[in-house]
Amino acid sequence: MLELDGVDIQLGTFRLQADLRVPKGACVAVMGASGSGKSTLINAIAGFQDHLGAIRLDGTDLSDLAPDQRPLSILFQDGNLFPHLTAAQNVALGLSANLRLSRDDWVRVDQVLHRVGLGGKEHKKPTALSGGQQSRVAIARVLLRGRPLLLLDEPFAALGPALRQDMLALVAGVAAQEGTTVLMITHAPEDARAIADQTIVVENGRAAAPCDTQDLLDNPPDGLRAYLGT
């Protein structure tokens, strides 16, 4: 279980507070207007944002851990791959930051690449891959790292709607198999409906506790309604 306990972030005049719990294995959407603090919340969990209060995963406080020490993976809006490394190397970084891998490790890298549908593309550099394929490489790395929490900061926003939903479905499928908890920022209600049972709404400086996505989107509160334009 992911717990945000009295989390309080001050950024100049902007302030964000969060007190919430996300059950293990859940897939939760994070929605809110631009500038409401969705990314700030994700950054705090990932370790890129100082905060007051505690962030715990399965009882362990993450607050003092460096980003790479935290039991989580994160996919950013862009820059998830190093353009100078091959697909396999980019994935392998998930096992060893020094890229010192045993033969077995490389076999595992190959396996996850196959699993995301990139068999045979191991030695391609990102520029030689399509946008969707690049996303698959990043997902393969997440898979290989096998961390219990996955944070998505709109990594597929640049893809078309169909491709984006394919990627989210891939992520959701993988997460379900591995029992991974997922927190994903999204602007698209259909994405939330498709894979997230629950949704955290961020507005007016607060991240609310997760509530049922279908109910929320059927009867959105005022702020969210204005934002969704429904």
Partner: protein, 503 residues
Amino acid sequence: MLALLLLFIFGTLLAVALRADDLSGLPSDFWPTVWFTLMQATLSGALSVLLAIPVARALMRRSFRGKALLIALLGAPFILPVIVAVLGLLSVFGRGGLLNTAVGWFGGDPVSVYGLTGILLAHAYFNLPLATRLLLQGWQDIPQGRVRLAQSLGMRGMAAFRHIEWPMLRDRAPGIFLAIFTICLTSFSVILLIGGGPRATTIELAIYEAFRFDFDLGKAALLALVQFAICGFVAVIALQTRLPQSAGSGVGHTTLPVLSNTKGIGAFDGLAIFLATAFLLIPLGMMLAKGVSALGDMHGAVWPAAIRSLVIAVASALGSVVMALALCLFALSLRRGAALIDGLGFLILATSPLVMGTGLFLIVFPFVNPTSVALWVTGLVNATVAMPFILRSILPALQQAERDHGRLADSLGLLGWARLRWMLVPRIRPALGFGAGLAAALSMGDLGVITLFSDPQRATLPMEMFRLMSSYRQDSAMAAALLLVGLSFGLFWLFDKWGRRYA
């Protein structure tokens, strides 16, 4: 690393000052000297930047075959040995040069470039390529999004210039001007070739006079301090004028933002490129032609010297890149790191090579025979002298790499060595290659200011060229100069190419 550099900069000065009997007075023409130094450096810096603006702008907007090669060639003067470049310039602008021959055909009076004109001409010749390259970078760094926005809003001509290009120029030009100003501040060889006489006396020349004519170490040390003071002042101004850099990511270099595309402007661009090419390459071509026709006179002793110079150049290029990288990584970890790097760059530029050489000599000779460490010292000093340019090229690249991929690296635990090996070095490879190339070329052409360490059996190529000149063998010297220019440029090209291989 920092300590070593500071030792080079201040330790040597201290060594000279300590050896002095007393810190005696300044030379009689101190104020005119200071005035002239500042005046010529200001004019040289301004001229170089002003000329570079239309050239860089034209190069940015126009796309033509061989453009990359032309840009590379236009960089050549910056790495030429002074004597070669000035003789080349004189073959165009001198009394018997192409210009005066042409003027003669039309019955005009001969034009003389000796004096301030010649100094400015030569300084512009050396520094226009630097200014152009830095400004070109500035244009390339304008975010594509902003250009597209301007296009979509229908901005043309002055409007586009005001909103897109002017902010970039205001951001970059002062820094480039100050860098060239500082380079020209310590100019010495150029002044003593076409300066025309004692009217053109710089502080660096006064330092030389104090060493050579008066053997007054105190005066030399005092003058070196004055030089530092001026550069310190300049550095403070530089840090003040440095506007915060826009942290926009997503820089696209590939497409050319053809702004304000009207016919007259196109012709203007063509003219700017043509004139710059002619100005920079004809003198070089004249020298090369002379060298080629003298190739038969190439002396056998030139070859070992060439190999020695190559080894020193490569070693000092690697050395200075490693030093610069270490310093920049250190600077990244500091809050005011960029200011530290800028300040250090200015300090090194302000260092009098004569004082540095003499100070080093005073420091090492009680312990080892200076001649036996000649090559090492030469390499080390060359590496130091090239640092300001490498620092300037590496630091922004590192900052960019951190902006683009820093968080990803953090989240994957790419720290320390792994971060350097797998993320930073590959991302800043172009900057490293360019910096190493520049350092190698500068080292190649270095005339061994530190003659106190020279060793007759192990002369470098520029020394050998100079020796040929001082034994009446001008033709052989020109052949050696051709080899020197070829090797300098070859080294630069190789390093630069290495850097851009995957870019």
